[in-house]
């Protein structure tokens, strides 16, 4: 199936979902749906580097937080432009600020992508465990930086006050939900396009054998940088609307361990070799987590996720998609 058609189908599914939620008319559904979709984007983002190229990123929370704090940064500028700009610039700035949410999402993506590029240059010569440790270190460095940066709230945290309602969409959460829905559609379409392109084949050679890839003409360093930038940018875009969703952000919530763990667990449980895996993993795991949060306690979530991850790594390293292929192949053989 060609990418435009595929994207159209995804958009149709998204529209149907939105309409169904509207008909039901319960805002709680939109809150739930937002989180699930956010994880679809996060899992897809992780998988571009971790699944396609085989470079395990433990620092996902850092990239997500860059998106979060980019939004806080620009929101705070919009709140008190007189603290930031000289007098004569206030009039034009009043035109620009406050920035609309779609622009903030793009900006979050740009900053996280740039940090991804920087991280790539510094760490991509490292393989395996060393790369993973370096990404973890990057997240710690970023968190320390944010904790000490008072303009974005430092360790105290920062408030973002969303508007009460939005034209067309009604409540603000519905608007947020639609934005995240579009972002999820865009990231799934991008992941699938990559997978089927020359770039995706290059990524797979990196995962399989970098020396053989180079010998076959694959510019491995350049491709790995492309992957870190794409992956980082998607993380950043997933994080950018978060302050408006949650209302109050502190470093602990933006850099939360659950992002790093889920970013790895969801693709691993769904399957890392295709765009379907991270989506399936995110849908199942985050829905499960929402249910557990409501029925038992959110504290149990990490435990359940961790146990599932261990189970899959040992018993089904190719995830649910791998199990599915295995099962359908068996059936067509017999």
């Amino acid at each position: 199936m060609r990418t435009p058609l595929f994207t159209l189908i995804l958009l149709a599914i998204a529209a149907a979902l939105y309409l169904a939620f509207r008909v039901i008319g319960n805002d709680y559904l939109f809150f739930l749906g937002y989180v699930v979709l956010q994880y679809v984007v996060i899992a897809t983002a992780w998988n571009i580097l971790g699944g396609y190229c085989g470079y395990v990123n433990f620092g996902s929370a850092g990239f997500f937080a860059i998106g979060v704090y980019s939004t806080i940064f620009f929101y705070n500028i919009g709140q008190s432009p007189e603290d930031v700009f000289p007098e004569f610039m206030l009039a034009p700035m009043a035109w620009i600020f406050p920035l609309p949410l779609p622009v903030l999402i793009v900006l979050g993506g740009v900053f996280a992508g740039l940090i991804g590029l920087g991280m790539g240059y510094l760490t991509l010569r490292l393989r395996g465990v060393f790369f993973a440790i370096a990404t973890l270190a990057l997240a710690v460095v970023l968190e320390t930086f944010i904790v000490n940066w008072s303009f974005v709230g430092g360790s105290r945290g920062a408030y973002v006050i969303p508007p009460e309602s939005v034209p067309v969409f009604g409540t603000f959460i519905q608007y947020l939900f639609v934005l995240m829905l579009l972002l999820a559609v865009a990231s799934l379409a991008a992941a699938r396009l990559i997978e089927r392109s020359r770039l995706g084949i290059g990524f797979a050679t990196i995962r399989d054998d970098e020396l053989a890839a180079e010998a076959s003409g694959v510019p491995t360093l350049k491709l790995k940088l492309i992957a870190t930038v794409l992956s980082g940018a998607l993380f950043g875009m997933a994080g950018a609307p978060f302050p408006f969703y949650i209302g109050y952000v502190e470093p602990n919530s933006a850099f939360n361990l659950s992002y790093a763990v889920n970013a790895i667990a969801m693709p691993m449980i769904g399957g890392t070799t295709s765009w379907i895996g991270p989506m399936v993993g995110a849908l199942i795991l985050s829905t499960l987590q929402q249910i557990v949060t409501v029925t038992i306690s959110s504290a149990v979530n990490l435990l359940i996720t961790g146990l599932l991850l261990i189970g899959f790594v040992i018993l089904a390293p190719n995830g649910l998609v791998g199990l599915w292929h295995h099962w359908t192949a068996r059936r067509s053989n017999s």
């Binding site: 020359r198 797979a204 995962r207 054998d209 053989a212 180079e214 003409g217 510019p219």
Partner: protein
Amino acid sequence: MSQIMGQPVTETFDDVAPPLLAIEQLGKRFGGFVALDTVDLSVPAGQRLGLIGPNGSGKSTLVNCISGTLQNETGSVSFGGRRVDGVPAHQRARLGLARSFQLPRPFRSMTVAENIRVPLLYTVGARHGVHLTSSELEDRCLEVLSLVALQDKAKKSPLDLTQVEMRKLELARAMAAEPKLLIADESMAGLSHSEVEDIVALLIRLNQRGITIIMIEHIMRAVMAFSQRLVVLVSGRKIADGAPDDVIKDKDVVGAYLGT
């Protein structure tokens, strides 16, 4: 066939023409261990060169330094009149340098045919800036695989191949890059008598279409059938270089092989 292997390079053994590959005073160490010690080697375009030497003499290390898999520490490597040391391996591949790995390194998550597609996309495609449709690519993959009689395994995983078939895949992937210089690092170990003859014949055919070939091999029957020139490496040093019949009678060479 000719379209797979690209433009024929005119055969020239002329002294004035610059060699296709020129290695000067090449040195490579692993820690304190000297793997290559001031090796000089100049290969004119169109030549069939055999490279032999006992285990651990530095043959594969030399291949790695030529192809860019390893970077040499001293000396220089020039290809097509251009210094390539320091140039990343993928750029050397695009310049026309292809090598097979002694221990096969297939792309394990791909099928056999998809393995061949990689150099077609990333070396041939990048070099000529051509864009092949997926059915053209598929045809070319099968064409290349049929050179080594692997066309029936196209849809299989490389992990389902025998060791011998994996060697053939390794060689086919290098040939698919339409190189000017092809280096085959022990592609024939474990092959049957007739398979060895087939591969030697294939390499000679490729050579007649203008591809310069360096063959590393322990099977002397193959080496002698193939080589126009024979180079012997012992302990990282070149100890003999010349016509095959003369080289194998050389006292130093005989001594090195008998371990004296």
